[in-house]
C-alpha cells in the first residue's frame, strides 16, 4: 500500500474546486488526484487518481479546513483560508 503513495502533498499546493467540493493535484498519468473535502473532514488523507493506481497523501490539519455550509461568522474566516 505504502508503495503506491506517489507523493505527500501539502493541501496548500492542491487546488480546491468549490463546485465539486474536492481538492485536486496533477497526476503523472495526466489525470489528477482527487479527494472530497468531506473525506478530509472525516480524517481521510489519501487522494486517488481515477485513471491509474497512484495515490497521494494529503498533508493537512482538519481544524484548518473550510467549515461546512451553514456556518455564519465562522464561515467567512474559513473562506479566507481557502483563498490564501
Amino acid at each position: 500500500m505504502a508503495d503506491n503513495i506517489y507523493d505527500e502533498i501539502e493541501i496548500e499546493d492542491m487546488t480546491y474546486d468549490p463546485t465539486l467540493q474536492i481538492y485536486h493535484y496533477p497526476c503523472p498519468c495526466g489525470d489528477r488526484f482527487e479527494i472530497s473535502i468531506d473525506d478530509l473532514r472525516d480524517g481521510e488523507e489519501i487522494a486517488v487518481c481515477p485513471s491509474c493506481s497512484l495515490m497521494i497523501r494529503v498533508v493537512f490539519e482538519v481544524d484548518e479546513l473550510p467549515k461546512p455550509e451553514g456556518g455564519s461568522a465562522v464561515q467567512t474566516a474559513a473562506t479566507q483560508v481557502v483563498a490564501a
Binding site: P28, C29, G30
Partner: protein, 330 residues
C-alpha cells in the same frame, strides 16, 4: 463615442519627416500634418519620430525609422488596442489596453526592457525556466519547493534564479526542482534548486554523477538523466517504478524523459523504454504494477526512427517515413 476628425498642425524640426508633412524642411509656421484625420488622444515624440494615438486605439507614426522604432505600422492589421504611448530617443512604447506593453526600436541601454535574448526554455508540471544568452537563468510558476531559488514561493512573473556561480548552458525541470548545467565541454558544472523535501536524494547524488562531456540532459518529474558523449546514460533520483536507466544499456544516441518513464534511441536506431508504464507508455510487457523496472522494452516501429519524445504517460516516436496523411481531424 461621438468621433470627429481632428486636424493637426505642426512646425519645427523636420529633417526626418517627423512632422508628417509633404517635405523634410524645418518650418516655423504651422502646416497641416498627415497625423490629421482622426480623433487625437495623445501624441508622443522621440528624437526624430512622432507617434499619435487616436481615441479608437489606433496608432500613426511619422519620421525616422532607422531603428525600426516605427515598425508598429506593420502590426496595424493586428488588433493592438493601444491605451497610451511614449517614446525614447530611438524607440517607441505602446501600452495596450490589455495591460501589455509593445516595444520597438533601438535599445542599446536597455530602453526596450527586453533583457537578453532567451536561448533555451523548459517547463515541468508547474514551473518554467529560461536560460538567457548571457548565462542567467530566469523562471516563474510554483517555486514553493525552492525550484526557482530563494525565497521559495509562487513566482507570478519571471524572476532571476539567484546564487548561480557559473554561466548556464542548459536547464532541466522536475516537478519540484530545477537543475542547471554549465558548458558541457568544460568542468561539468551543475547546480540544483529545490526540492526542499528531497525524498530521492537528488542533492546527495548530484555532485558525483555530473561529468564533463555530457551530450544531453533530461528530467522526469523526480529523476535526472545525463547522456554522455560516448553513449553512456547516467541517472539518479526517483527509482520506485524503475525510472532510472537499467543496467547494461547499449550505447544511446538520444533520450526523452516523461513524467515517470524514459525513452532512449540507441545508436543502432532502436527505441527502448522503461519506468512507470501503467498506461502502455513503455510498451509490453510490464510487471504486475505496470512497471518496466530494472530492464527495458524495445518498442518497434516499421520505419527509421529520427527522434523520441515523452509526456505524462505518453510516448512519441518520430520516424522519417513518408506516408500519405488523411488530413487533420475536424
Amino acid at each position: 463615442m461621438a468621433s470627429h476628425n481632428d486636424t493637426v498642425f505642426a512646425f519645427g524640426s523636420n529633417g526626418s519627416g517627423q512632422l508628417g508633412l509633404s517635405h523634410f524642411e524645418d518650418i516655423s509656421t504651422p502646416e497641416q500634418s498627415s497625423l490629421s484625420g482622426c480623433t487625437v488622444k495623445q501624441i508622443a515624440a522621440g528624437g526624430n519620430h512622432t507617434l499619435m494615438l487616436s481615441e479608437d486605439g489606433n496608432v500613426k507614426l511619422q519620421g525616422d525609422d532607422g531603428h525600426d522604432q516605427t515598425i508598429v505600422r506593420y502590426l496595424s492589421e493586428v488588433d493592438w488596442r493601444v491605451a497610451q504611448l511614449s517614446a525614447t530617443w530611438n524607440a517607441s512604447m505602446l501600452l495596450l489596453q490589455s495591460g501589455k506593453v509593445l516595444v520597438c526600436g533601438e535599445g542599446q541601454n536597455g530602453e526596450l526592457g527586453l533583457g537578453s535574448e532567451i536561448s533555451h526554455i523548459t517547463s515541468c508540471m508547474a514551473h518554467s525556466v529560461t536560460v538567457l544568452s548571457n548565462g542567467e537563468v530566469w523562471g516563474w510558476g510554483n517555486g514553493r519547493q525552492g525550484q526557482l531559488g530563494e525565497p521559495a514561493e509562487i513566482v507570478w512573473s519571471p524572476r532571476q534564479i539567484q546564487g548561480l556561480t557559473f554561466s548556464a548552458a542548459k536547464v532541466v525541470c522536475g516537478k519540484d526542482f530545477t537543475c542547471v548545467f554549465g558548458n558541457r565541454r568544460e568542468s561539468g558544472q551543475v547546480a540544483m534548486f529545490g526540492p526542499k523535501r528531497d525524498r530521492f536524494d537528488l542533492h546527495l547524488n548530484l555532485p558525483s554523477m555530473v561529468v564533463p562531456g555530457w551530450k544531453d540532459v533530461a528530467t522526469s518529474w523526480g529523476s535526472i538523466y545525463i547522456l554522455r558523449d560516448d553513449g553512456e546514460l547516467l541517472g539518479f533520483g526517483r527509482n520506485d517504478h524503475g525510472q532510472l536507466p537499467p543496467p547494461d544499456l547499449p550505447p544511446i544516441e538520444a533520450i526523452a524523459a516523461g513524467s515517470e518513464h524514459c525513452l532512449a534511441l540507441t545508436k543502432a536506431g532502436k527505441v527502448l523504454a522503461w519506468g512507470w508504464g501503467e498506461h502502455g507508455n513503455c510498451g509490453e510487457p510490464t510487471d504486475s504494477n505496470g512497471d518496466v523496472k530494472g530492464r527495458w522494452n524495445e518498442v518497434e516501429v516499421p520505419y527509421s526512427v529520427r527522434a523520441v519524445f515523452a509526456g505524462c504517460a505518453t510516448s512519441l516516436i518520430v520516424t522519417s517515413a513518408h506516408i500519405e496523411h488523411s488530413g487533420g481531424q475536424g
